[in-house]
């Protein structure tokens, strides 16, 4: 479930992509025109084209990143679940990744130290909270 999905939910409309790229191309042209105006000494017009160009580039890249974020958000991430196995006799503890068929209070392989029966005592996932700004 954690792989990148390839269904209709993640497809970005090619129409939207074309519009974004046209916007980006126009903004870049505006920047080039601004440079040309600077060269010819028309600084006021050059300033306006520069403004329009920068705004266009910023807007197109923002929209492009937003569509990318949408894909990333659609991943259903399953955090790793760990299983703790404990020896009731000598207290030896081992932690490993959860395996299908594990359950709390299941008797598993003998203890490496005292050869007594070991028991699954905990199954949980750890969530690392994202810190706010």
């Amino acid at each position: 479930m954690s792989r990148t999905p390839q269904n209709s939910a993640t497809k970005i409309s090619s129409f939207v992509l074309i519009i974004i790229f046209i916007g980006l191309a126009l903004s870049l042209s505006a920047l080039m025109v601004a440079l040309a105006y600077f060269g010819s000494g028309n600084e006021v017009l050059a300033g306006y084209f520069l403004l329009v160009g920068f705004l266009g580039v910023a807007l197109s890249t923002y929209v492009l990143f937003q569509t990318r974020r949408r894909i990333m958000r659609l991943k259903i991430e399953i955090p790793p679940v760990t299983t703790t196995i404990e020896c009731r006799k000598c207290g030896f503890k081992s932690v490993r990744e959860f395996q299908r068929g594990d359950y709390i209070f299941k008797e598993v392989e003998p203890c490496q130290k005292c050869n007594d029966k070991m028991l699954i005592t905990a199954i949980y996932r750890e969530v690392k909270e994202k810190l706010g700004p």
Binding site: M1, P5, N7, S8, A9, T10, V44, L45, Y48, R70, R73, L74, I76, I78, P79, V81, F98, R100, G101, D102, Y103, I104, F105, K106, A122, I123, Y124, R125, E126, V127
Partner: protein, 379 residues
């Protein structure tokens, strides 16, 4: 001052200087945009909202499809069916339950219980048919997996219904309500999505906090089965005799705790000093996950049948009831158990012992009922 004069003055300063003779085009543009927003502002806002709902709907569709896929894959892997279970799973996802008529409410609980029993038997039969090689524990887990997939399918269909209805009628109020409630629905859908894997693998979930408390208390003591799908163990705690009850694990099962408590009370002819129920409960935003709180009343969720039965039995013999809850949110309740919730179980046991010491005398009999889905938790 006239608003038009202000706007006109503003755009004149901005546009006339650099664009000289073409400034009238920009003037015209300003007015056109202004008028469009006066008359079509709300409609534009509605289209923005429709787009937002559409985005969430795509996400819901993806989650729903993944749920269906996970369910089918798990059935194929565990159940080893002879035929492809896809058609049967699709049919299962469309199952519905009609709640009983409550115009004359007397006796409605028993009617509801009967319908829920029929539903339960039907689901189990269906799962056994789909997965013939699955054992009892796996059948329970598969049933839970399919129920999570069914919930996702239902959420998607309801949201799609209101989205299409809003789009068809262009009703701002339908779309607006949908857009406002969507963050909560998306949280729930995401919770069910993560529950799917937990159910498929048989991992303990947050809702099992109560069951884990009971399991820890009864581990190492003799257990016997009681109706229905429950187990009870007689455990000496602080000089008292505690009847610890939980749903039978480690398969996905909530049992009929109401019947279990009633059986134990009747076995003891009502001579029970107190009943303590432990369950996972919804936390409010800002509260800590795994916070343990204490109160009175029957701490049990679900359709209310078990709560009704418990309250009836307690009332008959005037038995006091205490509750200990472990706080978590909807996402934690159905996804694999978080470390904080696991650690809260020991705190809950301490609170139970404290309640027993404070509310009962030595030699008394008490009932401790761990409520919740016992998936991944044996006894």
């Amino acid at each position: 001052m006239n608003i038009f004069a202000v706007i006109s003055g503003l755009q004149n300063t901005v546009t006339q200087e650099p664009f000289g003779e073409f400034s009238w085009i920009l003037n015209l543009l300003f007015y056109v945009v202004f008028i469009i927003f006066i008359f079509y502002g709300q409609r534009i806002q509605m289209y923005v909202m429709i787009r937002e709902v559409e985005g969430s709907l795509y996400k819901l569709k993806y989650i729903k499809d993944e749920g269906r896929k996970t369910a089918i894959e798990t059935i194929k892997e565990i159940g080893k069916p002879q035929v492809d279970p896809t058609v049967r799973v699709d049919r299962f996802l469309e199952y519905f339950t009609i709640s009983p008529q409550s115009l004359d409410p007397a006796g409605v609980v028993w009617k509801l219980e009967h319908i829920l029993d029929v539903r339960d038997v039907r689901f189990k039969d269906e799962v056994k048919f789909m997965a013939p090689a699955a054992d009892e524990t796996q059948v329970n887990n598969l049933e839970n997996t399919l129920e999570a997939a069914m919930a996702l399918n239902y959420i998607y269909k309801v949201i799609r219904h209101y989205y299409l209805l809003g789009k068809k009628t262009l009703s701002l109020y339908i779309i607006m309500q949908l857009q406002m409630i969507l963050p909560l629905i998306m949280r729930e859908a995401e919770a069910y999505a993560s529950a799917l894997k937990a159910f498929a693998y048989g991992q303990p979930i947050g809702d099992g906090a109560g069951a884990l408390v009971a399991a820890k208390l009864m581990y190492g003591h003799e257990k016997r089965k009681i109706p229905k799908d429950c187990v009870v163990a007689t455990v000496p705690i602080e000089g008292r005799t505690a009847y610890v009850i939980k749903a039978e694990g480690p398969g996905g099962n909530v049992g009929k705790i109401g019947d279990g408590i009633r059986t134990v009370i009747e076995e003891n002819e009502g001579k029970i000093a107190t009943v303590i129920m432990i369950d996972a409960a919804m936390k409010l935003e800002g509260e800590e996950i795994g916070e343990v709180a204490e109160g009175v009343g029957a701490a049990i969720g679900g359709p209310g049948v078990d709560q009704f039965k418990i309250e009836e039995s307690l009332l008959k013999y005037r038995i006091p009831i205490n509750a200990v809850i472990v706080k978590e949110d909807i996402g934690d309740a159905v996804s694999p158990m978080r470390k904080e919730i696991f650690e809260a179980v020991d705190k809950a046991i301490e609170r139970i012992k404290q309640v027993i010491l404070e509310k009962t005398k030595e030699g008394d009999k008490v009932i401790i009922a761990g409520v919740g889905n016992t998936i991944g938790i044996a006894q």
